[in-house]
Symmetry: C2
Subunit: 467 residues, 2 copies
């Protein structure tokens, strides 16, 4: 047995649920299904209760299962009724089961029932005759489940390959289609394992993927991959087998794709368990790290928004503020966001916390009628060189008004539109940190670990694999 085979066998053992775990989750799911069916009956709703997702497909990871139970309504039911009835049924089922729940939101609001052994999402959707008839994205899920189940039933050993691939994606930090991760959904990873036939074949293929040039079309919906590339202008294209108009990989960002490709190549060179189960890295003292680097941060109250909405705004804010800092003259090396405990911390690593004293400032073209104002503004002083003409523009070299990064960041946060809710939050107050003080932006140990790993910015599998 080769080294990689031995490793994969070892990992497979860890990711495959034991019969006891399987039994525990199954009986919990059965109880939920029965409770939902009874609740639907009580509320006189014509609903089919169906288990979907990785549990239904038997591709879930040991110790790590979220079960999706769908409440499938007839397409003739108005959407308002579906939403209302869906929540009523789920709440009533929770009551019958005597478990707590929380409301969440995807295409429609849905309930997560907290069963103890696992969480179960009760998701209302429409039972449509085909993916061409869907009324909202969740309606596609039953077709995904059926497609994958069919493929896996025909070749049951693929379930292990899917589990390895999911664990790998988790281990290297690209699992999940949510905005925070912008990575690979479970369904996407299942399609890849099925398409390429195994975990290792998937990695071997991924090692050669090129962003914006790779098309995977399992059911051959497109005769020519260039057709698909023209339609889907995203880093990776995986045509949905059940719906040719959809790119299953559309949530995958260039960053996540890059990480996956990099990890795949490194794993093939030197396989090791760190790719699946990264051990937390030992962090050098953070104060020292921050002293060597040039980091600024702003802390806002996190508005109470759905995760994806909050992360969507946070990422837009990072982009806008980084752009603003560059307009001030700073060079932004990297940026990141941390959210927790009702707080949002936006982090920027710069080339330097302070800019040189002078800047070159371009004025209007020489032939413009704004020339006189520019000239008279500077001719009397306020600049150390000029006004002079360079090419067809007026120019001055002048003292920089804002040289410190924290000052610039505070000004930007106070004046920029950084997303509707974040701008509102900033109006009620925010704090700016620079250098060592960034460590104190949030109190939790989780924040400090996040900050440390962001500063080191080295994948765990690089540290121990010798890659």
């Amino acid at each position: 047995m080769s080294r990689v085979e031995a490793l994969l066998r070892e990992i497979l053992e860890r990711v495959t649920p034991t019969p006891a775990e399987r039994e525990r989750v199954s009986s919990a799911v059965e109880r939920v299904v029965k409770a939902l069916e009874r609740a639907a009956q009580e509320l006189r709703a014509d609903v089919r209760v169906e288990v979907e997702g990785s549990f239904a497909k038997d591709t879930w990871l040991s110790g790590d299962v979220d079960v999706d139970v769908f409440l499938l309504f007839d397409p003739s039911v108005p959407v308002e009724e579906l939403r209302l009835k869906g929540l009523q049924i789920a709440r009533r089922a929770a009551e019958l089961l005597g478990v707590s729940w929380r409301e969440r939101y995807a295409s429609h609001p849905y309930l997560t029932l907290e069963l103890g052994v696992c969480d179960v999402d009760a998701v209302p959707a429409y039972r449509v005759p085909s993916p061409a008839h869907i009324k909202s994205p969740v309606d596609r899920t039953p077709f995904h489940t059926a497609y994958v189940e069919g493929k896996l039933d025909a070749n049951p050993s693929l379930r292990g390959e899917v589990r390895l691939l999911k664990r790998f994606a988790k281990g290297v930090g690209v699992y999940g289609a949510e905005v925070k991760v912008e990575g690979f959904s479970g369904y996407l990873l299942e399609l890849l394992a099925i398409h390429y036939g195994s975990f290792l074949s998937t990695l071997k293929a991924a090692a050669k993927w090129k962003p914006y040039r790779t098309v995977i079309d399992p059911e051959g919906h497109y005769g020519d991959p260039r057709e698909a590339l023209k339609r889907f202008r995203e880093p990776l294209v995986v045509v949905d087998p059940v719906d040719p108009k959809r790119n299953v990989a559309s949530p995958v960002s260039l960053d996540s794709l890059g990480k996956f490709v990099a990890a795949a190549r490194a794993f093939l060179r030197r396989p090791c368990p760190e790719f699946f189960y990264p051990t937390p890295q030992p962090l050098p003292p953070l104060e020292e790290l921050l002293r060597q680097r040039a980091v600024v941060a702003v802390k806002l109250r996190a508005p109470p928004l759905p995760e994806d909405v909050l992360w969507g705004q946070a990422k837009r804010a990072l982009r806008a503020l980084a752009h603003g800092l560059e307009r001030f003259g700073f060079t932004v090396f990297d940026r990141a966001a941390w959210a927790g405990e009702g707080e949002l911390v936006l982090l920027f690593e710069l080339e330097a916390l302070e800019l040189p004293p002078l800047e070159k400032h371009y004025g209007p073209p020489v032939y413009s009628d704004h020339d006189e104002r520019f000239i008279s503004k500077y001719a009397g002083g306020g600049c150390v060189a000029g006004p002079y003409v360079e090419g067809d523009k007026w120019v001055v070299i002048r003292p920089r008004r804002i040289r410190r990064a924290d000052e610039a960041l505070a000004k930007l946060v106070a004046t920029y539109n950084i997303g509707e809710d974040l701008t509102l939050s900033a109006r009620t107050g925010f704090e700016v940190y620079a250098g060592e003080s960034v460590l104190g932006a949030a109190a939790s140990a989780e924040y400090k670990r996040f900050l440390g790993e962001w500063l080191i910015r080295r994948p765990p599998w690089l540290l121990s694999s010798g890659n």
Copy 2:
């Protein structure tokens, strides 16, 4: 009389040669022509001696005349014979006149005879039937002379307008088509004054010139200005009246055009003598100026090349070295060259003399086969963050090896190709200066004045005109 009319009358008086000066130069030129004719006879050369240029056209400036005397050969004479005979005739004429001379080079080598009252260039060329038959650019000159003379004879007051325009171009620093200036030739200024009808009309037109979009076509050779713009991709297009294939303004750089337009607008707003006769600006102490700014310089021995060749190489070297400094991470505000006393000083003003300690360094794409080398180079150390993946590339944050501008410049000069002769000169030695020491790069007072004006970088007419 308006303020501007009074001013122009005053300037016109200064630029128009007095009868006595005119007499002195005329008799000198007459002697030269006779000597050349006699020399040609002695050497049995079929040569027509003809006075060309601003003296022939009577557009020269008082106190500032160079006379061009052409030795016009028959087109059947081989070019080697023209060159040899041309020099022989001029040298013999100098002997007959008992004056000293120096050899120079344009299309062909030529001699400058030092008459005392003025210099006279004796330039060999071909007497061709039309500009379509020219064998070298100087052959066009007699046609230029004839064209301008014809126009000025028809409207003699234009001579004053030409003189004002020439003095203005001199005053604002854009007179001359040589590579050092890349400005407006005397012929170009004559054409402009003729075309627009007066000094003031020329300035009024120039105030609205837009680079790469302005076409002046005095004889209407092109039906549509877009045709001319397609042919001449230069900042300013002035179609040669005697040769439609030639842009008389082709030597004019964007910088020179910009300066001319800026000065024209400023003059029209607030006319003052400074535009014609700038008074040397009082310079603040240069050490202090250099302390506030971030200037580096390199001094080379200037190779013994024709002016235009030396300046061509100097400008290419400035561009190459500025580009190199930016690749090191420096921001280059401006650059300039000074040549004198066999030395060439290349100057660069930067945003800062020292760069921050860390830099972001991009490695290969994740899917490239160079990834392993990059990863193994940095995974063991040598960087403070990463290797990590950003987009589809490997990246590290690493300590900068070269942070000081003088160090970077020395490295560039030692390794870059900065033009054939300058590279050779650099191989025999060069010196690098930074900060205050830049003042000592050359000893002459002329260099110090140049450096001071370059640091202040404000046109003299801005200082005193209140513009």
